[in-house]
């Protein structure tokens, strides 16, 4: 589809005109930050200065206490005398006076003194402890400065003692350690600025664009003008493009105003800038940074629009902005990761790659091919979000007010299909908490509790809560005889291919052999009779886990998602439910296979047999010493072929899954 430039121009003009007329938005997104930002910075600077000033000039008091108080009196007196001398030369020196108190610690707690010097004797040496109130700045500051002063006195004493003993120590005897940097002052400042810049600008872009984005889609829906607009000759792509351009224009304008505003204040020295700040802002580097911020602005704007397009009201849109904010801001922290350069996987991550690129540019490194990749990645991500927004404008549920659903009121199965992930999350949380308590218990206890209490209980609760018909919800349907043959072929093939997948995945997430060994020991302790292993590891999971995952969860998900998405979601949930990270891949794979089998056969029973066989073979590997994990590629190849055969048989003998639409 081609864009009609005249229509887009008309729409952009229209958006901007309406924005300018909305005084509240203009006030909130431009005028207010313009005034507030410098005020805030100025205010915090002023407060910081006056705080330091106050701490500097304040009079502090302390009490000396403890059994060795008399022994330490000389050193304290000498320190006080030295501080008085210092004060004559330097007004910022510590002003401190000694007082007396019957209850020194009580006085400290009441704030009557700022710290307490406790002198005790340990092995004939006086030990001085400086007791402070860590929760007040006044006390901790003065205590640490007093400690420094005491140490200084002790150093002087020691030097004098050594000199008296005929061992004079001169300053030149001690090597002087200095550090030097090959980086220019500009590069050092560039690092500081480069780390912060993306985050700051992204914040400006998101805050500047958010009110406009909310107003332009969610606001139009709420006011009922979107339907009017959708019946005009303007296409949905043109509408979204125009709105995107408008949001980008507004976001960039407010960002430029903010940055310019800051620079003006820095220029007038109202806000102090760090050393080398002006050296860091090189014209060429600045231009390059601006070029990189263009796709970032488009990305931020399209993210905001997408959220706005998915909200049905203004309020809903504002609700959804927090996640967008976090999703945007968190990757920009990549600039703070030490040693991370653009020549790494980070170059493929939108936002994060800009953060790293900006840091590199400001420290004088220009990695041109990678910078081009950064630009393209962000532009592509923005284009993808625009496409999603166009789709949201074609989603009837989101645009036509009367097509809104009343699912919540209807309850039952449709409501459950929305709650599947919620149930899963709750179950997962419970499982993690209980497994930390049951960790030491015998595998019999663990399996019985997880399967018979948690999983079976969840199935029963869901059936009861949503009044689901067990036959439909659990897919308890008969299948054709040939299906069983397919399962007999498929289960071992599935196990082997799963191990293959796991070994491939191990290249990405390496798992140490010792971990694997420890795991199989934990699952199958030596005192576990074979029949019990079969019951607890193969039979029970085969039944109960299937009823939960390929039963209710799959049933709920296929009502809402495309079958492939439902299969993938069931697989991921099944993988996550096995808690440990390195089992995620193989169990996730098995979960997807089993979900696929259930959808094709329209019944949970084949998946039960498959799951049982899979686990039985797994048990046998340790009981009968079958080396499942160390076959060559030929065996895995044969397994893939066998799996394909099983799949073909299943497909030929498929029966419809209740309520499934392909």
């Amino acid at each position: 589809m081609t864009l009609d430039a005249a229509v887009v121009r008309t729409l952009v003009g229209h958006e901007l005109r309406m924005l300018v007329r909305d005084r509240r938005t203009v006030l909130l997104s431009v005028v207010l930050p313009l005034l507030l930002m410098p005020l805030m910075m100025f205010g915090s600077q002023a407060m910081e200065r006056s705080r330091l000033q106050r701490l500097q000039t304040a009079e502090y008091s302390f009490v000396v206490t403890g059994p060795a108080a008399e022994a330490v009196r000389p050193i304290i007196d000498r320190t006080l005398a030295r501080l008085r001398q210092d004060l004559a030369r330097d007004t910022s020196a510590l002003r401190v006076t000694q007082t007396v108190s019957a209850d020194p610690i009580g006085a400290l707690k009441r704030g009557e003194v700022d710290f307490v010097v406790e002198a005790a004797t340990a092995a004939d040496v006086p030990v001085v402890t400086i007791v402070k109130r860590g929760d007040t700045e006044r006390s901790s500051r003065s205590a640490s400065r007093w400690r420094e002063a005491l140490r200084e006195t002790r150093r002087e004493d020691r030097a004098r003692l050594l000199a008296d003993a005929g061992l004079p120590v001169s300053v030149t005897d001690v090597a002087i350690v200095k550090d030097a940097s090959v980086a220019t002052e500009g590069q050092v400042a560039g690092l500081t600025l480069g780390r912060l810049l993306t985050m700051m600008l992204l914040m400006f872009l998101l805050t500047g664009g958010s009110s406009m984005a909310t107003d332009s889609l969610a606001g139009e829906k709420e006011r009922g003008t979107l339907e009017t607009l959708l019946t005009t000759a303007a296409g949905r792509t043109e509408i979204v493009t125009a709105k995107l351009l408008a949001v980008v224009i507004v976001a960039l304008t407010t960002t430029l105003i903010q940055v310019g505003n800051l620079l003006v204040y820095v220029g007038f020295k109202i806000i102090p800038a760090g050393a080398g700040f002006s050296a860091a802002i090189h014209p060429a580097a600045t231009a390059l940074v601006l070029v990189l911020f263009l796709p970032l602005a488009a990305l931020a704007a399209s993210g905001l629009l997408l959220v706005s397009g998915h909200a049905r009201t203004y309020k809903e849109a504002q609700f959804l902005f927090l996640p967008v904010f976090l999703c945007g801001m968190v990757p920009s922290l990549a600039a703070f990761l030490p040693g991370l350069t653009l020549r790494s996987a980070i170059v493929a991550v939108p936002v994060a790659n800009v953060a790293v690129a900006v840091k590199e540019i400001l420290t004088g490194r220009f990695d041109w091919p990678m910078l081009a990749v950064v630009f393209v990645v962000n532009a592509a991500a923005a284009a993808w979000l625009v496409r999603l927004t166009v789709r949201a404008l074609s989603t009837e549920r989101l645009i036509a007010p009367t097509a809104t659903d009343n699912v919540a009121a209807l309850g039952g199965a449709p409501l459950f299909s929305r709650h599947v992930f919620g149930w899963f999350a709750a179950l997962w949380a419970v499982l993690i908490v209980t497994s930390s308590y049951l960790g030491e218990a015998h595998v019999r206890v663990q399996v019985s509790f997880n399967l018979l209490v948690l999983f079976a209980g969840t199935v029963a609760l869901i059936l009861f809560r949503y009044r689901l018909a067990p036959r439909d919800a659990l897919a308890l349907c008969p299948v054709k005889p040939a299906v069983w043959l397919a399962v007999l072929i498929g289960a071992p093939a599935g196990l082997l291919t799963g191990i293959g997948v796991f070994r491939l995945a191990a290249f990405v997430f390496p798992v140490s052999p010792r971990m694997l060994e420890a795991f199989s020991k934990a699952l199958l302790p030596a005192d576990f009779p074979l029949w019990q292993a079969v019951v607890f590891v193969a039979v029970l999971p085969g039944i109960v886990e299937e009823l939960l995952f390929r039963g209710v969860f799959l049933h709920g998900l296929v009502r809402r998602f495309h079958p492939i998405a439902a299969v993938a979601a069931v697989g991921v949930m099944f993988g996550l439910m096995h808690v440990s990270l390195f089992r995620l891949v193989p169990t996730g794979y098995l979960g997807m296979l089993l979900a696929g089998v259930t959808l094709v056969t329209g019944s949970v029973f084949p998946a039960m047999l498959w799951h049982f066989l899979n686990n039985l073979l797994g048990v046998s590997s340790s009981a009968l010493d079958i080396p499942w994990g160390s076959f060559g590629p030929d065996v895995y190849g044969a397994a893939v072929a066998a799996l394909a055969l099983a799949g073909w048989i299943l497909w030929r003998n498929r029966t419809p899954y209740p309520g499934l639409r392909w």
Binding site: T10, H14, M18, E227, T228, L230, A233, E396, L410, P414
Partner: protein, 257 residues
């Protein structure tokens, strides 16, 4: 003569999770010709709005097809909208534009030639008596004034086809009569008009042909005279009940008259 609007076996199924398939529109056929007002008469939830939203390409039909001025609503939705003015109680105006700017914006975005734009806007402002408040912002206007601006923006680009979805809902008697008068004027100009309502008197007064729609299906579709003849009822109300609730209909041949 070819029809300005043609709907053929038009169907809309909402897959509302759980209720399963809701057949909002279930095989609707009709045609509407230039200079004709075609009425869709039905109770709330009969499928009127869904049908009209499919014609205006806001919703996509599940099955069947429809064309507006020969353009298919699925394959050429932009061309359909270019030839169409859509008015409903739920299509609101931009509150921050003035009345004049509203008309201008909709004419421009619907591709009205830029050279004749100003003259067209002047014409509309005069024709609908918008002059006195042309420079006022829409959010400051009364509902009667808004209604005039709404009609003007619907026909801003002079489309050959007009769709009015329950245009008199929420209007007082005078405004409703004004609306009916305006629609009749458009017919006189040769526009093809589809008009939906649940008010019998309005359909009786205005429509050249009436389709009685119920549960997504058109139960009867003809001129008022032919419907009277076919059912033996004089009042449209009775004719309506005759089709929708055959068991509750009063006896034929005059009925209560």
């Amino acid at each position: 003569m070819s029809a300005s609007i043609a709907a053929l076996a038009l169907q809309k199924v909402f897959l509302d999770e759980g209720r399963g398939e809701v057949r909002a529109v279930d095989g609707v056929d009709f045609e509407c010709h230039p200079g004709e007002i075609f009425g869709l008469l039905g109770a709330n939830g009969a499928g009127k709005t869904t049908t009209l939203r499919m014609l205006s390409t806001i919703l996509q039909p599940t099955a069947g097809s429809a064309t507006v001025m020969g353009h298919d609503v699925v394959t050429a939705p932009e061309m359909v909208r270019r030839h169409l003015g859509f008015y409903s109680a739920s299509t609101a105006l931009y509150p921050r534009l003035t009345a004049r700017e509203t008309i201008e914006f909709f004419a421009r975005v619907n591709g009205y030639p830029a050279g004749r734009l100003a003259a067209r806007v002047d014409d509309l402002v005069e024709r609908f008596g918008i002059g006195p408040f042309a420079k006022a912002r829409v959010d400051k206007l009364s509902s009667g004034m808004k209604q005039k601006v709404s009609i003007a923006r619907t026909v801003a680009h002079d489309p050959p086809v007009l769709i009015f979805d329950e245009p008199t809902v929420g209007l007082d008697v005078i405004n409703a009569l004004d609306m009916q008068g305006v629609i009749a004027e458009f017919r006189a100009e040769g526009k093809a008009i589809v008009f939906s309502t649940h008010i019998m008197s309005e359909a009786e007064r205005l429509c050249d042909r009436i389709a009685i729609i119920h549960n997504g299906r058109i139960l009867a579709c003809d001129t008022l005279a032919a419907l009277r003849q076919a059912t033996g009822h004089r009042y449209l109300e009775d004719i309506f009940v005759h089709f929708v609730r055959p068991d509750q209909a009063p006896p034929a041949a005059g009925g209560r008259s």
